[in-house]
Symmetry: D3
């Protein structure tokens, strides 16, 4: 079985990090490749970034459709996920959707820890789209005072506050490309910490194994 991880941005370092993390989790049980999206922005932050990466993502999924058994979209805002589900006959899993839905099976409420204030309302809109508002403790992003703090410290402090002040019982990392941070934070916090890429691989590999894919009944019918 082969799974293609689509990195919706064009950052090659992040692409390699994601691929390595995916392969480490797969551990030979299935093959994992990760591709950056041609013509995509360097980061996906705005709605415009999401639109600009769509043509490249469409191309990637169409060109690789025969060679892979399932697809993972590796940006935590799940850009163009409805579209990817629509044009593929194979399982397509977003790391945002997979990590947040798995989180609901592991504790009472989850918090998402994100990198920029900008992303709080956008993440909240995504959470509502997935009908997860009642499972959410909070979405946190670093304040301005935190701008220069070291990434892992920042994430630790936000996650700790989510657990202590917001009632979070599970932490979801709100970005791809943070390989290893999940385990280090989990060890310090004592609650489950989820990396979206791993979560999406669990679901994508499982669905491919099982032989089910997106329903073509109506919403994701390609024409």
């Amino acid at each position: 079985m082969r799974i293609l991880i689509i990195n919706p941005n064009s950052d090659l370092d992040m692409t390699r990090t994601i691929e390595a993390a995916g392969r480490a989790f797969a551990a030979g049980r299935f093959e994992v490749d990760c591709l950056a999206t041609p013509g995509a922005p360097r980061f996906i932050e705005t709605y415009e970034d999401q639109a600009l990466t769509a043509p490249g993502m469409i191309g990637l999924i169409r060109e690789n459709h025969g060679a892979f058994d399932a697809f993972v979209i590796a940006c935590h805002c799940d850009p163009n996920l409805d579209l990817m589900k629509e044009i593929s006959r194979k399982p397509v899993v977003g790391i945002g959707e997979a990590s947040m839905k798995l989180a609901t099976m592991l504790g009472h409420r989850f918090s998402v820890i994100s990198t920029a204030a900008h992303s709080v309302p956008n993440k909240e809109a995504l959470i509502e789209k997935y009908h997860l508002r009642d499972d959410l403790a909070s979405v946190r992003s670093p304040g301005e005072a935190e701008a220069d703090a070291e990434l892992e410290d920042k994430f630790y402090r936000m996650a700790k506050a989510a657990v202590d002040e917001d009632g979070a019982e599970v932490i979801v990392l709100g970005c791809a490309g943070l390989a290893g941070l999940d385990k280090r934070l989990q060890a310090k916090l004592g609650v489950p910490v989820l990396d979206g890429v791993v979560c999406a691989l669990i679901i994508a590999a499982g669905l491919a194994q099982y032989g089910v894919s997106t329903s073509k009944a109506r919403r994701y019918k390609p024409d």
Copy 2:
């Protein structure tokens, strides 16, 4: 005051119909132009259609930003509306959002009457995004048996059923380019029937007059 209506598809007939309807409503109180989107599909039905029309819509709004006071997106699925709000400093109004939110001020529950079965779940997803689920009576689309019926008959029968069986008190037309149908159906049904283009012009002109536009606090901040 000048308002630009962006028709997200590339159908020139529909573009002219929308422009005429918009000008008829404006009646000289403000100027209305309507432009088709370059490079867009002929119809906007799928998530892929919505992605393919994004670059053209971005171009239209950027090129015309200085010359107009507000923008209307004239497709009832509000394609790329978040993006348009993000990149513009002037009011941007979707005909889906405007017509359904105005409908909530005119009666207990509204129904959307749509053209294709395909669009029912997509419209439901849009309605949830706008937090309008509790205001909704139903989304109706013609069954297969209706495929060859005359458009106005079909819409009348669906709207009648929505009022009689689903408890709808207001009818929202789920497509652009149906100029005049609102008034003819309203006369027959005896309940308000809303055309999205007119509704969006009411809001867009009002916001421009008032001097308020999309908040740039976080969600629609362009960078």
Copy 3:
């Protein structure tokens, strides 16, 4: 076109302020009159105040029904709005409903800034009635420590806190009769600030122009 603004209280100064603000916005595009409600309390704060002003409001709308094209109810708790919609065949718009629903089109979440602690739960109940709870950041009112502060300072501090602490992207002024405060606060805060009277005039004028009014299907049928 002529619009009658009904001030549900009996305060003549506030009535004149509202009329002036309404006319300033209309700017000759339509006529605006504002009338105080005969027999009404000086302020509308309690449920009893709302009941006591009903007979006068019924009288005002009945006596002036032929002479005006639409009606605005100018108290932010929308007193007797269902009743006004029920007995009129012309558009009736509450400033609470209009301002809060327009706010949802301008940003991710809105906050209402109110004058008295008393009004917080009553406003929350109103917000739930309009199914706007998911669009709400917060309802804020001045604490006791603020009792003697200057009105504009108080409103600024509450609005600033709503933006910085509650995630509000749009501010709604929770009272009528604050003409001009919207623009001064908007300039300081950098986010849209909405005055209910202007918002209601946008909707009321638009609906009258369009020729649609409250559905008489069931809920607002007068008998």
Copy 4:
């Protein structure tokens, strides 16, 4: 202990029926009086009816405040209930609120059986106000074909349909003044059938006995 049932309409026959039913339930454990509202309409159907009965209801509760230990509002649309709670320091219970909230303790979902199509959306709005939408199976009213049917037959057929087709497990009678119908329908249907007056007496007597009443913290503070 004495409980005053306020009949918000002016129908003396219904007033006597309600009083007799209330006394039959009280069975000497507490005293029950029922008064018609002076100056009220004959029936309470519209929002205007609700407003017109407010002054009389205010008068009744103020004049009788010292002589009674609790008050019941005996119209299933709970007219002016917020106001009655606000102006009284003693328990005030609406028959709509009491019967529908008790219904949620007796089965999975309840249906309300009402007398007129007019009342369906109004009842739905009331149900949302009480946050009972997720407990509701349906609100049913007789169709036009049923206009001339005998009342008990009509109610039986609607209740039977609610149980068989809508999944109702408990039936709530949507009107006051139907003394005895609850027990006759319950015997035929085999599910609990609730009369609002009895339900409200249970709660009102219990609260009075317990010594708790409406909170005056904020929402129901009289000034």
Copy 5:
């Protein structure tokens, strides 16, 4: 009329306290007995505790079914309440459900004051089950710093904070066996404070008097 209060734990002191409080409220209007559950844990805190007490509770209700007219489950997490409703043909009332639903009739929002941090998410899950999330101000439990504080002081401070900071207008005591605390806190706080045992007795006695019990239509059908 005789009501059996089932104490789901095996603590005999608490059983006697509950019985005394129940009899004090009943004041001879009906008989009250309270029994501890044989084989139950000393306290009911965890999901395992709830399961371990089920066989004893089943036994108690079956052995005493003929001798009593209604049953109260006297633990605020309502352990095995669905099961008790299922196997009994007489009214069964949980003190959590009764107290929180009565609270919604007495003020805008209620807070539950609980004994252990452990119980906050469990209580939230219960509140969601009863569809009371929109009526809730907060669930509060003592922080670690409070571990050694005197019980009444702790409850007072939590309740005060709920009223002042969370907008609670009614306080619900989140444990059984606190007889008298309701009245002492109510006197200090000036808002209604509800003890679950009393609330459940009000409902249970009322339902028994009325002759209605759990619907056997589907959800609570015993086979």
Copy 6:
């Protein structure tokens, strides 16, 4: 890796069927055992059945805790799932929760196809507990007229009606022990059909591989 499937009932045939299906899916990638619950009822239908099987399930999970890496609870009503999550330090996955949450990733709305009318409200209560109400098309069970129909025919007709009439895009089988029915129905219906045991194995194996388990922060803390 070894996964233990706990069959909460005591039916040995069903236990063997489930084990075979589990092993077929695992296909050697991980080991699967299935055990019937000692002392459990033959079928789990009522709340009492769920309580009676708890001691046996507790015993099974405690005795086998060291020997397995994850646990699956193989009854679609997820009996005692909160308790199993509480007492285990390893992943515990219910087939109801897993199948319905995976269904939300595969289409707009899902329907659950169940065996008995009895189970409709109980399933609805479970769906609300998981916050999946907005993802649900319907829960269907065979009517009385269907009592004697062949199982596969019955399930096909219910699933077809769910797709055609209720808007379901994904079908979830509401029972364990139906190995093979998923693939046969999927072939006929053309939409994804999910068997709970397979879905739970996907999640359980994935979580065990990933090294995450139920949060012990609060709700599932064992003491």
